[in-house]
Each structure stands twice: as C-alpha cells, then as structure tokens.
C-alpha cells in the first residue's frame, strides 16, 4: 500500500488542489447560470416566423414561434424563419442579409448574434444567413450539414423541417452540446490513458540479445580477401508526377448594409 500511495501521490495531490479550487469558485461565483437575456431593444419586430409563401398552418406558425422563443433564450441568438414564393429573387443571400439588417435582428445588439433561414418555394433554393456569434461558430461543413438536413425534410413537412433547423441551430450554439461531447471525451481520455498505462506496465521483456556479429570474431574484424564491385550496366526510367487540386468554397461576406454575414445555401 505504501508503494501504491507513493506512486499515486501526484494524482491525489492534483485531485485535492482541483477540489479546493472548485469549492472556492462555487463559493465566490457570481456568474448567472440561467438563460440568456435579450439586450437588443432596437430590433424593429418581435416576429420570427415570416411565412410569406404560406407553407405553414396558423397552428404550426404558433408552435414554431414558441419553439424559437424557447430556443433563443437557450442559445442567446435570434432565429428567423422566412418562406417566400418569388421566382424573381436573383440573390437569395442578399435578400436574406438585407432582411436581417433592415429589421436590426441580433440577440445582444442590432446586427448582432443571430441567423435567418430563407426558403424560396418558387425555386426550391434556401439560404442560411449567419451573423455575430453564429457567424463565428458555423464552419462551412456545419452550414452544409444543417442546410442539407433541413432541405431533405422540407418537401415532406415544412414545419418539421423548420423545427429541426431551429433546434439543431440552437443546440449547435449552446454549451450543452459541448458538455455532452466533453462528457464522452471525459470517459474516452481516461480510458485511453489507462489502457496505455496498463500496457506499458505489463511490458515484460525477458531480455535482449547483447552480442553482435563480431563478438566472437578474433581481433574483432574479419579479413576481407576479395572485395570487388564491377559495374555492369545502367538504365533510367521516368514518370510524370500528378499534382492534386484541392477544393474550396464558402466564406464570409459584407451585406449591402455593410454588416458581416456568413452562411450557405441549398436546394430542395
């Protein structure tokens, strides 16, 4: 047992230190742990669901509004859903950005944290415009994933598709998801370290060979009587090296109102 405690002294010491720090933080923390509070008083509307294409029933619109209100508090971002039917819209990206900017959306401030999802039912095109913290969080692949998943559900049931968008977007922006991911890592990391620890300590070499090829050679070197290397012939071959080309796409842009937006589009 003495050897055990000596071996794990560092671990128990670390645990004790962390425990003390936790207790101190818990005793002194003033941080608000509740939902986010909206601080943008300049937004021109309280509406979040703009169903101009009339794809949702009144009841579905109401449920979607409630869902958005609930999720906005959790993630601290404005979430706007808009459906339109307009074959004349040339740039859905500009259309979405302008609508967001004109209404001064943003949870923390005008043109602040938030997003708008615009679905043009005349063409099937959609655009997911991001701003503020949402713009910083969403990578191209995250945008592609959420847009593709939402589009794949839209034709069958627009309400379910938009609900999916709202909840997914909110969870992408909240700490709970990160915590869930860390919860898995919290198990995996100690498991991997423990398995390595076990294997290293189980390693049990019987012994290594320590003789070399000259160990039993008198005077330590052989006598080389003949050493000839006669050149016979030479030949040369060649091949062309194919260079690979990488792909790219997406990125940030400035809307006509001068606001930085991110985002990406899709089609259903």
């Amino acid at each position: 047992m003495k050897k055990y405690f000596k071996h794990f002294a560092w671990l128990y010491g670390l645990l004790a230190i962390l425990l003390v720090i936790n207790i101190v933080i818990a005793a002194t923390s003033q941080k608000q742990s509740g939902p986010y509070v909206r601080t943008n008083a300049d937004c021109l509307t309280d509406e979040r669901v703009f169903d101009y294409a009339d794809k949702l029933s009144a009841g579905e619109e109401e449920m979607l509004r409630n869902l958005i209100a609930e999720q906005e508090k959790k993630c601290g971002c404005d979430i706007v859903i808009m459906t339109v039917y307009d074959p004349e819209i040339r740039s859905l990206m500009n259309y979405a950005d302008d609508f967001y900017d004109e209404n001064k959306f943003g949870y923390n401030k005008p043109w602040g944290d938030g997003c708008i999802y615009v679905d043009n039912w005349a063409t099937g095109d959609v655009w997911f415009s991001t701003c503020g913290r949402v713009e910083d969080t969403y990578s191209n692949s995250m945008i592609r994933d959420i847009v593709d998943e939402t589009c794949s559900r839209t034709n069958a049931d627009p309400y379910k598709a938009y609900s999916y968008f709202v909840t997914t977007m909110a969870s992408d922006m909240t700490f709970e998801l990160n915590f869930a991911s860390f919860g898995i890592l919290g198990l995996v990391i100690p498991l991997i370290v423990s398995v390595i620890y076990l294997c290293v300590n189980l390693a049990n070499n019987k012994g290594k060979k320590t003789t070399v090829s000259t160990t039993y050679v008198t005077s330590g070197v052989p006598n080389m009587r003949v050493k000839q290397d006669i050149f016979l012939h030479k030949h040369t071959t060649h091949r062309t090296i194919q260079s690979s080309s990488g792909g790219g796409g997406g990125g940030h842009h400035i809307s006509s109102g001068g606001i930085s937006h991110g985002g990406g589009g899709g089609h259903h």
Partner: protein, 327 residues
C-alpha cells in the same frame, strides 16, 4: 572435496568481491586447505547424506551448509579446461534484481523480499566453446538506385554491379551450454562473457557455489555453435554491401572448419520465484550482471492501479470542466 579454513576449520569459499578465498566464520583470507571428499553420498564435513543428481559437480550440504565439490565429476575426461570465476557476489546479484524490477508496479508481494532473494544460488554452468575458421565466398548482383526530379518528372536511375566478396572470419570460443536443465534461449541471452578473465580450471573457484558437469558431448550441441557462427558471418557479409539497395546472390559458399573445442564452466546466478503454482526463473550473468527473466504479474495489483488511474483522471477532468465552466 571441501575447502577448509586453516585458522578455524570452517568452510572457506571463493568471494567474488575480494577475488580471493575467504572464511565467513573468522574472516580469514586465502587461508584455505583442501580436504579430500567422502564420495557422492555423504557430506565430508558433517557426514550427513547428500543426494546430488547425475550431473551435479558441486553442491551445498543441507545439514551443515558446507559447499562440497565432487572430484569424481571434475577430473579426468570430465575436467573442464577453463573456468570463469564469479565476479558478481550474491549481494550484487540481489541488487541487480532490485534495481531492474524494483520499480515494476505489478510484481507480486514477496518477489523482492530478502527471504525470497536469499534462495538465489550461484551455479557454474558447463559450456563448450568452439573455435572455427570460416571462409565465406559470395557472388551476386547488386543494384544502386538514384532518384531525382526535374519539373513534374521523376527520374529513376538503376545501376547494376557484379558483387564479389571473399572473407575469412576466425571465430574464437563461441559458447554453447552443455546443460539439459538450463534453457538454451536464456543461456544465449546471458552472453557475452568477458573472456579476458577466463582461467585454467581450478577447483577453488567452485567453493561457495553449486556446479554442474557437462551433460553431453561437444558433438551433440555443436549445431548451435555452427548456427551462431553462420548467422554472424552472414551478418558481417551483409555489412559489406550496405551501399546497395538490393543484392541478389548468384553463388554463396560458407565453409566452417572446426579448430578446437574447450570445456568451460561459466558463472550464473539462478533465482526461482514460485507464484500461484508456477515457477518463474531468473538468470544473471555471474560476471557481467546481465539479468534475464520475465516477472510474474499480480492481476489484483494491475486492476487496482489501472482503475485508480482511470477514475482519478476521470475525476480530474470532471473537476477541470467544472472550473472552466465556473470561471
């Protein structure tokens, strides 16, 4: 036979630390006197019965603790040509074990306890040492490859050579154990010994240790020596062709001519630890201190230590997460 101290009559033994005969009873140095033996079946000192096995040449009386040497098994045709005296004492051998395995976490309790280590015995193990003249003729085709790039084109130039080698390799004292009891692999791993300390056989070096006479004739184990010589010669030959990326042999002739075979006794410390019905053997080169053997595993300890590591790290990460979340 037994070596007795001239001063006090106690059993004088060879002390590896001092390199001299020593009396543990009166601390006398080089004060030994040889007393002839009383056959294979009784202790020459106390008369107690002894039961050496068919190859034992030196043993310890279980009754009085005297080390006796059976001259019947070390004289005439059975007399070794050479002996390498112990240079590592029992205490040093114990220290070697403690140093190598002391930090191992999963060894069972008792493995390194003095009571267990006291059972360690020094044994003179019989070896045959083979001298060879080796001639190795080699012909082959070697390829050197050079690669370079120009623009988006890679060029590969292959040059072919006729490789001719003739090498003489004189081998001196390739050791092979002549003991059935000793595991061949373990004996090979104990090598090398420093032959500069080899001496013409003298019985006094055996006093204080166990001993075994040769269990077989040199011809019965010579294949192992030839195999070692062949492997070394081939390795040396390969070393002369390292500039080639590949060599394909067209003709090889490795000729080993036996010159001389000598019978020698080499020093080995033997420690056997019994754990859960199984014996774990450890051998230590009695001259260099090189140690061979794999320790038993206490799975209770392995599980306990690993579980502590797992749950400890899990708790550390959890507490860290709390701290980061709370800041």
């Amino acid at each position: 036979m037994v070596y007795k101290c001239l001063n006090c009559g106690a059993n004088a033994i060879f002390d590896p630390d001092k390199g001299k005969m020593y009396c543990p009873h009166c601390d006398g140095i080089d004060s030994e006197q040889l007393q002839p033996g009383a056959g294979l079946n009784s202790c020459v000192v106390c008369g107690a019965p002894v039961e050496p096995d068919q190859y034992t040449s030196a043993t310890k009386c279980e009754h009085c603790g005297s080390y006796m040497i059976f001259e019947e098994r070390i004289t005439g045709e059975r007399e070794p040509h050479l002996i390498l005296p112990f240079k590592v004492s029992k205490q040093k051998a114990k220290d070697c074990l403690k140093e190598k395995f002391g930090k191992k976490l999963f060894i069972p309790d008792g493995f390194l306890k003095e009571a267990s280590l006291d059972k360690m015995e020094g044994i003179y193990v019989p070896f045959f040492m083979y001298d060879y003249d080796c001639t190795y003729e080699y012909s082959g085709t070697g390829k050197k490859v050079r690669r370079w790039r120009s623009g988006n084109t890679e060029y590969t130039e292959t040059s072919t050579f006729q490789v001719e080698r003739v090498m003489d390799v004189p081998f001196d004292k390739i050791p092979v154990d002549a003991s059935i009891k000793m595991e061949d692999g373990a004996m090979d791993l104990l090598e090398p010994y420093d032959y500069s300390a080899l001496e013409a056989f003298q019985t006094k070096y055996m006093s204080g240790f166990l001993g075994e006479m040769k269990n077989m004739e040199p011809s019965e184990v010579e294949n192992r020596a030839r195999h070692k010589a062949k492997a070394d010669a081939e390795s040396l030959m390969r070393g002369t062709m390292t500039e080639y990326e590949a060599v394909t042999p067209t003709r090889q002739n490795l000729n080993l001519i036996g010159k001389r075979t000598q019978y020698a006794l080499l020093p080995v410390w033997d420690y056997t630890f019994r754990y859960k019905g199984k014996d774990y053997h450890f051998k230590l080169n009695g001259q260099t201190g090189k140690l061979i053997g794999a320790t038993p595993i206490s799975w209770g300890k392995a599980i306990g230590y690993t579980a502590t590591m797992f749950f400890g790290l899990y708790a550390v990460l959890g507490l860290l997460l709390n701290i980061l979340g709370g800041l």
